[in-house]
Symmetry: C2
Subunit: 361 residues, 2 copies
């Protein structure tokens, strides 16, 4: 039976096409794909990505790594500058003891020392995070050589370097962010070589910069897009994903026509409250491209449909498909994803557990 | 054992004081308290609110009602204009069959008819939602009389009227929103009486408007604040909650000193991405009132501490207490709340399940 609204629905045809398209594009350029599984948090989808040729998965936390490793998807890069406290050390140790191949991010000598003191040198490898212009975590390209040298002294394997060009999340910023990433990673690789470490992996990220990164002549050997498995309203508005490829929507019921607008039962507790300064609203409707969510609270989305006369509004009780602004946040709100073979099916083909939901630690 | 960061921690002393303070303020004015349980979604906390004198609980969804009713907390108002489809009709019917007292919101004649056609007239009562200036759902005060008359014709019990003055969530808007609410509810009550319905309940809402609503000479018989059980950075900045009363924080580890700032392992997937246009940042630090989260992604909070020299920054690996902007969203991200008798305890006194987490439908 179709669940009561609101719920998150996957259009399986579209999702599989998205997975195949990303895999083909990377293969054509000879670049490895390591999709970021934080977007979907579902074992079934990770398996499809690997079957399509992905070399492994990217995750953000030890908790996510545990979920995927337990399901046998155990070639994992935790793309995060982990601070390895006693709890996380024990859990990383358990992961490698069961045969998982784990690399973690690092952006400081203190972080490397911590990993070594936890007894994980030679068991968990590291990739050094480079700030390529997003200015979040990550060291400078020149600092990377010092960190690599410290790792070698501590007996820690350095796989290479990685960056997340998050500044691609802005209008007309995708090409520039991909160039920034390529330049920063090239400098960092040089810095590692000067320290006597040959980077086996030079890894870039992000869905908006994906196409531009593939088009560049760059040192990148691996890419880690996440969102492109589904697409979302942000990618739609940035131009890095077309609405006809959007594979995840929130099915929501029209509960009110107050003030001549429509109010949906999908609020920020299922869509996620994300709204970038450049976003045109709090989310969009897949079948009404002109509509915008103009007000969002926990269980209400107020939608304006410009130029729709009151009698043209979707009827009270009708179900519409909402495109969340940021799909990674929406998926993390729910316990399961309702899977339809096609977007217009009435009966779900499957329900997949969001197995890594809430695994923040 | 203390969990690995990030996790949400309750300071039990402060939370109990917040519950007692709200109850005393309402009692002093002879106004019933029906706290909104969407904020905490935890049975243990609902029980404490009832023990302190609350007349029942408010929830937002049928799913939340089911969780609290199952635990015996079954005097419930679903403050939402529900569209009663077949699934929700069956579930509401099951709730009243087990003895729960359920009222739901309604803002249209179509909604009333739907409830009656579902066979719930005389079993589930309604409260008519009035738009008091927030312009979300809700009818006009004059429309309320027509809806009440339709309900009477359909055999549906009308308990009264309610409003949510969400426009109190802005700087210096609390008094005005409380006045708007009182005026709209007074007009609506008059409109009901003209239709031959005496409103037994005239219910207002919101934490920011709570004190102002209590101070007014108004027709309100009940208030439904939610956030004031914990407080959060929004209430801190609006002036409707003091930092020394904040009872829920996210314990987070400093993982990076990139660019001379601190980066925490608490991102939008545990704090929630909420940021109102007037908020001074993406969240604050309880023990560093001058600090602001200036950049937030799924697992990173970048914090600036003005005037802190690099050597004064909280050390790598140290744990800080983050105050989320909007606590209702943060709580809905996690499966459990870690309870400390006092904020500076090392060992948790309990762990409470966020039993209604994700119950959006």
């Amino acid at each position: 039976m179709t669940p009561s609204t609101p719920y998150l629905a996957i259009d399986l045809d579209r999702m599989q096409a998205n997975i195949a398209r990303a895999a083909a594009a990377a293969t054509e350029r000879g670049i490895a794909l390591r999709p970021h599984a934080k977007t979907h948090k579902a074992v079934e989808i990770g398996r499809m990505q690997l079957a399509a040729g992905a070399h492994g998965l990217t995750v953000a936390t030890v908790g996510e790594a545990e979920v995927f490793a337990e399901a046998g998807l155990d070639d994992l890069f935790i793309a995060y500058p982990l601070w390895v406290d006693a709890d996380k050390a024990a859990r990383l140790s358990a992961l490698v003891a069961r045969g998982a191949a784990i690399a973690i991010g690092i952006d400081s000598i203190a972080g490397v020392d911590r990993l070594a003191r936890a007894g994980l040198a030679g068991r968990v490898s590291v990739r050094i995070e480079i700030d390529a212009g997003h200015h979040r975590s990550g060291c400078t390209p020149t600092e990377a050589g010092d960190i690599a040298a410290a790792a070698v002294r501590a007996g820690v394997d350095v796989e290479g370097v990685f960056a997340f060009p998050g500044h691609a999340y802005a209008p007309d910023a995708r090409e520039r962010a991909a160039r920034d990433e390529a330049e920063a990673l090239a400098e960092a690789a040089t810095s590692l070589r000067a320290a006597g470490v040959e980077p086996a992996v030079v890894s870039g990220g992000s869905t908006p910069s994906f196409a531009a990164a593939l088009a560049l002549d760059s040192p990148v050997t691996e890419l880690r897009p996440g969102v492109n498995v589904f697409g979302d309203a942000q990618q739609w508005e940035l131009g890095s994903g077309a609405p006809e490829d959007i594979a995840l929507t929130c099915h929501a019921t029209v509960v009110s026509h107050a003030s001549g607008r429509i109010v949906l039962d999908a609020g920020s507790k299922v869509l996620g409250p994300d709204r970038a300064p450049w976003a045109s609203g709090h989310g969009r409707l897949l079948d009404h491209p002109e509509a915008r969510i103009v007000q969002l609270s926990e269980h209400h989305a107020v939608v304006e449909l410009p130029a729709a006369a009151p009698e043209e509004l979707p009827a009270l009780g009708s179900v519409v498909r909402v495109v969340p602004n940021h799909v990674c946040i929406a998926v993390n709100m729910v316990d399961e994803l309702v899977v339809f073979d096609r977007g217009d099916d009435a009966v779900p083909a499957a329900r997949w557990r969001v197995a890594a939901r809430g695994r923040n630690a």
